[in-house]
Amino acid sequence: MTVTTDNRELAVRWLELISAGDVEELCRTCTPDWTMAGGPPDLPPGPDGIRALVASFGRVEQSWTVEDVIAEGDKVVVRATNRCEQDEFLGVPAAGITQVFAATFVFRIEDGRVAEIHRTAQDLQRLLQLGAVPVPPSSRPSSSTS
């Protein structure tokens, strides 16, 4: 197998491990200084970041369907669709509602492990699927008691 093929398989496997919630295997597939951009804010690097990422999902049942994979050198782009059901998303109650959203990931692979991930996803569409209504800051009730 070529390095590019190995990298493709690793990137796809990474999403399978996310679906399975297999934190320890995810940690094993990543470098000690792993980073993610475009995910939850302020994730620490490395395994602590992986654990924080998975913890940020809360209770979740999810599956990723891979739509497209593009690999070149140490980079792999995966375009995928997620179906999930979880207790809440960004503080919005979500239990019992199936969210379906698209995401694209750029993986950088280093010596057979995931070193870096760049993510964009339809997180706004998820909120809309949950029926979330944004209240602009200027419309919020004042906390003043005067």
Partner: protein, 141 residues
């Protein structure tokens, strides 16, 4: 000039500042071009570029990643611009806030035999952009 450079250059200037925007878009995109599953004619694509420049000015694009394979091209970039015009968002029309707003986009492109872009699947971080515009103060159901 690479395909990515041509693409980004095409979107950098308002289409109406070009002598023949549709002809220039035709050098990069097929007509029609499929965008997130919907077929768009080049006139529609130029209209999208016009809307983008009507809503945002002082565009800066930073290419974050380019990954290429036969018939496929993926580009991740950050677009930063001033929100100075009417912005049509999934939440409705947003009047200008004057804020400088930055968002990441990853485009996955399928290339035709002649190298032009035949299909675009675009995922953008719209949530982050709307947060920066001050729209998402609090989310309730």
């Amino acid at each position: 000039m690479t395909t990515v450079e041509k693409l980004l250059a095409l979107w950098d200037l308002p289409p109406d500042s070009r002598p023949d925007a549709e002809a220039e878009f035709a050098t990069v995109y097929t007509d029609p071009v499929r965008v997130n599953g919907a077929e768009l004619g080049l006139a529609d694509l130029v209209a999208r570029a016009r809307d983008l420049h009507a809503a945002f000015t002082r565009h800066e694009r930073e290419v974050l990643e380019v990954v290429e394979a036969p018939g496929k091209l993926a580009v991740a970039f950050r677009l930063t611009a001033d929100h100075t015009g009417t912005w049509e968002t999934p939440l409705g029309v947003l009047p200008p806030t004057g804020r400088r707003i930055s968002g990441t986009v990853i485009d996955v492109l399928t290339l035709a035999h002649d190298g032009r872009v035949a299909e675009i699947v675009m995922v953008a971080d719209e949530l982050s952009r709307l947060r920066q515009a001050g729209v998402l103060g609090q989310l309730v159901r």
